[in-house]
Symmetry: C2
Subunit: 205 residues, 2 copies
């Protein structure tokens, strides 16, 4: 973009269209940003560190993401969208066995994405520049998680209490993610998920 | 302590016994440490900053807490114990109305203590020095919260699923605390707590 003629463009990108290269660079930066946040936290996560990890020049990284806030909020959003898509793909026929859906929903909160999002979230609570961006991002990601949960659980939100049942379930999933931060909480979590899968099944009727 | 004779002691503390002064200093440091963590996060929380906030000399602070890790883990533990006591005092006759107990349990996770603990927790996930200490602390605080929940809910853990029901409830409380970090989530939380109070009541029978 930015004043490159078609001839120059063709000369500089003999094999891959420039837009595709740009998209690939962007995705590599986003994936590296999430991994960096998850491993090193906000204090250890800068555009330079991510550019190096992604094998991209600092200039190219800054072309895509002018500020640190741009890079890391975009990264968490990108991976959240990827995970939402993956979750829907797990249940291609829509509403499914609720105990399996509860387990899959909780699974969203126990990997590197949750860890990265948590670091961003906690950093935002003390940094004004980040706060508004992350608040808006979390609201958007939260609405999408809720929509997926309602769809896959086949929950009828016109019935009293159903909306709050699904919300509480997602809050529980978030709390289970937090419990998995310092230690491997898998064994306990599986027992809790089995029990609450049954409770949600009975409550949704 | 430390080689001060009884005469010196009496001369230096005309009004308040030295042990009491020491205890008061310690408590002021602990309260200041929790407030500091909640407001500024781990990166902004040092022994010096806390000493100044508590109106205590840096030397006195270091006498009580030789390292930063000592100070902040002790602070989170101290306030967690205070809050557990306060929670038990709310229901002096033991098992109480379960919906009220659920609301009070969730309340444990929505104030400055939870915010401080969360900062410590997240910092520990990237700092080896802190990790072992915080893991052990969280296990202890978690066991105590579970014990209080079981007692106040009058839950019979010999029945299958009851233990996991209570654990999931505390996980939900933790997730609700997280949802309250960046915005005031009170209105939504109250609806979720009302619905889940009913679910827990029905499940525990």
């Amino acid at each position: 973009m930015g004043g490159v003629s078609a001839t120059e463009h063709a000369a500089r990108t003999p094999h891959v269209p420039k837009q595709d290269r740009s998209r690939v660079t962007r995705q590599r930066l986003l994936a590296a940003a999430v991994a960096c946040l998850a491993e090193h936290g906000w204090a250890g996560s800068t555009v330079s560190v991510v550019a190096e990890r992604a094998g991209v020049s600092r200039g190219a990284a800054q072309h895509h993401f002018p500020t640190r806030e741009d890079l890391f909020t975009a990264a968490v959003e990108y991976v959240a969208e990827e995970r939402s898509t993956a979750l829907r793909d797990l249940f291609p026929d829509g509403p499914a066995d609720r105990r399996a859906v509860v387990a899959a929903l909780v699974g969203l909160y126990t990997g590197p994405l949750f860890r990265a999002a948590l670091h961003l979230w906690v950093a935002a609570s003390n940094e004004d520049q980040l706060r508004a961006r992350v608040t808006e991002l979390e609201a958007r990601v939260g609405r999408e998680s809720h929509r997926i949960a309602v769809d896959l659980l086949g929950a009828d939100e016109s019935r009293p209490g159903v909306r709050e049942t699904v919300q509480g379930l997602l809050d529980m999933a978030r709390g289970l993610g937090l419990a998995n931060l310092l230690t491997d909480d898998t064994a306990r979590r599986e027992r809790v998920v089995a029990q609450w899968g049954t409770i949600v099944e009975e409550t949704l009727g």
